[in-house]
């Protein structure tokens, strides 16, 4: 493939990281806003410490920015669909059931990563995905008694 990886996306890591952490700390403090008893002392203190550290990062990010390359187009093109696929899988996993979602996701992942976008490659990926999924399913449900989700949509649950 060509050496050109497309546009590069950079981010000020301190700013972004610090911002994210401050947000998380704020959410925690807001959630615990009304609570008055001992139980909330520890999380509150931790959240406050987190907020302070996050703010420190924000300040540092503003004073001496730490720019880091986060993505390039080429990388982003592969990772982002993957990440989205993972999220979709996670959501559908219990609703549609382990077996169908895993077969499809696994096969799709293998096929995309093989980068041979032929029907034959897709078929191979589908076979691999089906075999692995079914084997795992049998092993975990029959041998280990782990109840892999059957899919709540089918059961009306």
């Amino acid at each position: 493939m060509s050496g050109d990886t497309g546009r590069t996306w950079t981010v000020n890591s301190d700013l972004a990281g610090g911002g994210l952490l401050v947000v998380i700390a704020a959410v925690a403090l807001v959630y615990a806003r009304d609570a008055t008893f001992n139980v909330w002392i520890f999380p509150r203190i931790t959240a406050i410490v987190l907020a302070i550290l996050g703010t420190g990062l924000l300040i540092k990010g503003w004073l001496s920015p730490d720019r880091r390359k986060v993505f390039d187009d080429q990388g982003a093109n592969t990772v982002l669909p993957f990440a989205v696929g993972l999220i979709v899988y996670g959501v559908l996993f219990s609703r549609v059931g382990f077996v169908p979602t895993t077969i499809v996701t696994y096969a799709a992942a293998t096929w995309v990563l093989r980068r041979r976008f032929t029907l034959r490659s897709a078929a191979i990926s589908l076979v691999i995905g089906t075999v692995i999924t079914l084997v795992l399913y049998q092993v975990f449900t029959r041998v280990f008694y782990v109840p892999l989700p059957e899919g709540t949509w089918w059961q009306g649950g």
Binding site: M1, V11, S13, D14, A16, G17, L20, L21, I24, A28, Y31, F37, V39, W40, F42, P43, T46, A47, L50, L53, G54, G56, L57, K60, D66, R68, V70, F71, Q74, G75, A76, T78, V79, F82, A83, L86, I87, Y89, G90, F93, S94, T102, Y106, A109, T110, L113, R114, R115, G129, I132, T133, L136, F140, V143, F144, Y145, V146, P147, L148, P149
Partner: protein, 505 residues
């Protein structure tokens, strides 16, 4: 004692030990499946078997899994069990340099050494060590937690500030669920599945396996494999020489593992992190750590494997399991009507000692597996990404679900995965977060119980400071915090290297 040894050497037992250790190694070698899970899977069988056989199976599986976790840790930068986290620090860089086999052999040798030494402690030092573990009350656990937090500094690669923030984040997240000892649910957002808090496996898989898989995916056009396979010869001898000629690493790491293992709250993950930390601290060339040195792998693995038999010490001496697999062993004993304690040693010495010997000897099985399999296992690192990445992700999902049969755990795992990936991009290392997650509950429950101990005639100082072990721990904590400053004065070369150690590849 010797009766137990001869009992252990019976063919049936040897076979049980060999198979269970191998099984444990395989399960531990899959990211997402843990030692606890491996032992739990045995439960239906162990409860039905004779006590001695069942116990040997549990012990072998436990020790095997501790070793097994090192395999993916070294080869694909994904700990197979939480205890192998510290093994990734040096194991993966070695693989990247084409020295994967070195890493695996080092893991094998040090795991065997750790298991052996921990087993010896179990055999010979149970009573005094059990006695020692009784001195640890809530205040001591609180201070252990605090001491543990000082390790954040060394796990944070690069920015200390980011490391501390990561630790704080981990501690905040650890408060999700029912508060320890206080019967109040926190941050569950109406989802009962979160009442149990964030479980270790989904968190670890999410923070390490997922970002690693995504990293592989992102770069797969340029790097279709982690590393090309390169045949090496004489690896075992080379590694053995390196480790045996400088035995301090193995001895110190095993000792740390043993001590940490006898305490119920802490466990193998903490043992290996602490051991790695100390290995860096006391090494003559600390800057080699984090870049691929077998010493680093050895420090982590010896400790985590020593902690396994050590966790059986309080079980057999006091009836108090020091780890989840030990809890399963307790269940197996109780179900057969055997109560651990003096009585068990007196009336069923055969069973007890057979079990103990099995843990001492498990190390040999690990050596064997490691010597035979390392050169084949190392080829895994050369597998193409389109094989590795989907497998890592799949086992991560299944493993996260399987641990508590809780769908929400998969959600937790994925959330951590995306969070971990983002944070990784912003140069936050995941180690401090995990440390915060593990230590948060220890610190808080120690704090809560200790506060309840304060009362009439027992002042704050009485409870928190005027106790021998607490005082020692406070001192250790202070030393640990000020060490970078001290060492800068005493050993000018060491300081910057300590910060660099623990850097993820």
């Amino acid at each position: 004692m010797l009766e137990g040894l001869s009992g252990m050497l019976a063919p049936q037992m040897v076979l049980t030990l060999a198979l269970s250790t191998l099984g444990g190694a395989i399960v531990g070698g899959v990211p997402g499946l843990t030692a606890t899970m491996a032992v739990a899977l045995l439960v239906p069988f162990t409860f039905a078997l004779e006590p001695a056989v069942g116990l040997v199976a549990i012990g072998g599986t436990f020790v095997g899994a501790m070793y097994g976790g090192a395999i993916p840790a070294c080869l694909i930068n994904t700990p197979g069990t939480p205890s192998a986290l510290a093994t990734t620090f040096d194991g993966f860089p070695l693989t990247r340099q084409g020295k994967g086999q070195h890493a695996l052999v080092a893991a094998g040798i040090s795991s065997a050494a750790g298991a052996f030494i921990g087993g010896l402690a179990l055999l010979l030092l149970s009573p005094p060590l059990a006695e020692f573990s009784l001195r640890f009350g809530p205040p001591e656990f609180f201070w252990i937690g605090m001491f543990g937090l000082t390790m954040i500094a060394s796990l944070a690669s690069g920015s200390l500030w980011k490391g501390l923030a990561g630790g704080a984040l981990g501690m905040l997240l650890s408060t999700i669920g029912i508060a320890p000892a206080l019967a109040h649910a926190r941050f569950t957002f109406g989802m009962p599945g979160l009442l149990g808090g964030l479980s270790m496996v989904p968190s670890l898989v999410g923070l390490f396996a997922i970002p690693q898989a995504l990293r592989l995916v992102e770069a797969h056009r340029e790097r279709p494999r982690i590393v090309e396979y390169r045949e090496s010869r004489g690896v075992a001898a080379e590694v053995a020489r390196a480790l045996v000629l400088h035995p301090m690493t193995l001895i110190r790491s095993s000792a740390i593992g043993t001590i940490v293992g006898i305490l119920p709250a802490a466990g193998s993950p903490i043992a290996s992190l602490l051991s790695y930390n100390e290995a860096v601290r006391w090494s003559r060339h600390p800057d080699t750590f984090g870049k691929g040195t077998v010493e680093g792998v050895a420090a982590a693995e010896a400790a985590s494997n020593a902690a396994a038999p050590a966790s059986m010490i309080p079980l057999l001496a006091l009836g108090v399991p020091g780890s989840p697999p030990a809890a399963v062993a307790l269940g197996a004993l109780l179900l057969h009507g055997l109560r651990p304690g003096q009585a068990l040693y007196a009336e069923h010495a055969g069973i007890v000692y057979t079990f103990i010997w099995s843990m001492v000897l498990a190390g040999f099985v690990i050596m064997a597996i490691s010597m035979l399999a390392s050169r084949y296992l190392v080829r895994i690192a050369a597998f193409p990404v389109h094989v590795l990445a989907p497998l890592i992700l799949l086992f991560g999902v299944v493993g996260s679900f399987a641990i508590r049969s809780n769908v929400l755990d998969v959600g937790v795992m994925l959330s951590f995965g995306l969070l971990g990936y983002l944070l990784d991009k912003m140069a936050f290392s995941a180690g401090p977060i995990v440390l915060g997650l593990i230590l948060g509950p220890i610190v808080e429950s120690g704090l809560v119980s200790s506060l309840a101990m304060v009362g009439t005639g027992r002042s704050w100082l009485d409870v928190f400071v005027f106790r021998p072990i607490s005082a020692a721990l406070i001192l250790l904590t202070l030393l640990s915090v000020t060490w970078p400053i001290i060492s800068r004065r005493l050993l000018p070369s060491a300081a910057p290297a300590i910060a660099a150690a623990g850097e993820d590849a």
